[in-house]
Each structure stands twice: as structure tokens, then as C-alpha cells.
Amino acid sequence: MDDTDRKILNVIQTRFPVTAEPYEAIGAEIGISGDDAFNRVKTLFDTGIIRRLGASFDSRGLGWTSTLCAMSVPEEKIESVASVVGRYPGVTHNYQRDHKYNLWFTLIAPDEEEVDRILREIGRDSGHGPVRDMPMLKKFKIKVDFKFKETGGAED
């Protein structure tokens, strides 16, 4: 990866042009040809440096609901409970953490009724309910930055 690649990444990390000829626009912005821009992005994608290139949909923007949940599970049961939790497509992150509340997951669903239904079901099927439901009440910051890896704890 050279400086030109890094320039491209800085541009398309924030905003990939939604135009008929996006690579011409990217090339024009950093002073290379559209062909060069395309070939470089394709290489960055094929080698896996770019994991995906598309829309980051916002659960709230779509009118869906999302939440962070925590459970307290005996250590020896944590794998089986995690597999109960992981069955749900709306569970996007599922982590063990070093606390009495040791199993954490994020859940996205079309509405709050569905969140409640899933959490009741997880509590019942795992035998370790109730599940603590901790939806975001206020957002102070979401930062997307080069040097930070993605983390759990952000459900949308």
C-alpha cells in the first residue's frame, strides 16, 4: 500500500461518490486517472484491505430499533447460552466480558415489540433471564476513524 492508496482510502472511507463514474471522480480528486483509481480500489478490495464498500445503514434511520443487552451466566454455561443468543440474525455482536454481567450482545429488530419478544425468548430458552435491556438514551459520539478498530458496544 503506497501513499496514493492511502489517499484513496481516506476519500472512500468517508464518502464513495454515488455517481455514474465514481472512479473518475475519485481519480480527479487525488490527481490520477479513473482507470488507475479503479485498479487500485479493486486490488485493495481483492486483497481484503477493504472489507466492504457500500452503505452503512442506520437502524434508527430506517425506523428500526437497536439495543445493547447483558446477561449474567454461570461460566460453564456461557457457550451454550451464547449459541442460543447467536441464533438470532438481529444479534450482530456477541461478546464475553469480565464482569458479573459476562455475556453482552447487540440486537437490531424492526420494532420494540420484537426486541421484547426476542429478549423474553432468550431469557426463557437459556434459563438465565432476565436479559438486561440497555438501549441508547443519548448519543454523545460515534467516531469512524482509520486507527480505531471496530468494537462491540455500538449496536448500530
Partner: protein, 168 residues
């Protein structure tokens, strides 16, 4: 499904929720697949952005291996409700914090503010949290590290099933 999202919108959004095609004219490629005009696809995708259906249209990079390898969830107890906004902003201010939220507390979970703190090691994350505590005056706080990852996927809102993009 809420909002006025039509089946056509769903078909277009399904094409951009993971990755657009690696072609010189990706929106023409999508249009061809869906039997639409390129201009229509472009106009629709711009409209979704304007309506805030998505936060960002762009590249997501593979985690960088070097540096910032540790992250901890800092949780902060602020019983005085009127103080949460000011202290939340103060916690969020630090460059090492990527996410900061207020969430509900419970009798056995006295924390109200959540911050993801990044550092080169767990030790460094703990030191940053200590400085944040000194800065804000919040004495009752904790830092939870993840010890195991069971699932990490991108949400599939439209069509199809989720695709795991992390270790299971």
C-alpha cells in the same frame, strides 16, 4: 418495516448493504441486475442518504493489526441526571474514545454512561480511564474488557441471511 420503504427500495438497498460490484460503473451494474435505469438507481441511493437511512456510503477497512489493539468498555456512574449530558460530552471529547452513549441503569448496574476506550494495551486503556475519571470527577466507574467474541456480523436488513465477517 417502518418508513415508506417500498419493495423496490428493498431490492436496491439489498444490493448496497454489503458491497457494490467491483466494476467501473457499479450503479449501472446494479441497475442492469434489477432491470432499472442507472440514473434511477443513483437517484434512489442518494435519496436514502438524504433520508438518513444510511450513515455513510463508503469503504470499511479490515482491522489494522498494528497499534490500538486493546479496547475496553468504560462504564460510568452519574446518579445526578442533570450532570449526565455535561459529563458525557467531557468523556466523549477524548481522542481515545470512539463511542459514547447514555444507557439505562439497574439496581445491580449503577452505570449510566458508556464509552469505548482504545489503547495499545489493556494497561493503557485502564490508565486512560483513570485520567478520564480524574478529569470528570466520576469516581464510580468500571472498565470491561471482552475476553471472547462469539459473533460479529454486519446486519442484513434486506433479504438474505447475515454473513459472518468475523470469527464465530
Amino acid at each position: 418495516m417502518k418508513k415508506e420503504i417500498t419493495p423496490l427500495d428493498e431490492r436496491i438497498m439489498a444490493e448496497i448493504q454489503i458491497s457494490i460490484p467491483m466494476t467501473r460503473r457499479p450503479f449501472a451494474t446494479i441497475a442492469e441486475k434489477l432491470g432499472l435505469a442507472e440514473e434511477e438507481v443513483i437517484a434512489k441511493i442518494r435519496e436514502y442518504g438524504a433520508k438518513k437511512y444510511y450513515r455513510r456510503f463508503g469503504a470499511t477497512l479490515r482491522h489494522q493489526k498494528a497499534g490500538f489493539t486493546a479496547n475496553g468498555m468504560g462504564v460510568w456512574s452519574v446518579p445526578e441526571e442533570t450532570e449526565r449530558e455535561r459529563l458525557g460530552e467531557l468523556l466523549a471529547n477524548r481522542a481515545e474514545v470512539s463511542h459514547a452513549y447514555e444507557r439505562p441503569s439497574f439496581p445491580d448496574w449503577p452505570y449510566h454512561l458508556f464509552t469505548m476506550i482504545h489503547g495499545e494495551s489493556e494497561q493503557e486503556v485502564l490508565e486512560i480511564a483513570k485520567r478520564m475519571s480524574e478529569e470528570t470527577g466520576i469516581k464510580n466507574y468500571g472498565v470491561l474488557f471482552s475476553t471472547r467474541e462469539f459473533k460479529k456480523t454486519s446486519m442484513m436488513y434486506f433479504g438474505q441471511r447475515p454473513v459472518a465477517d468475523g470469527k464465530k
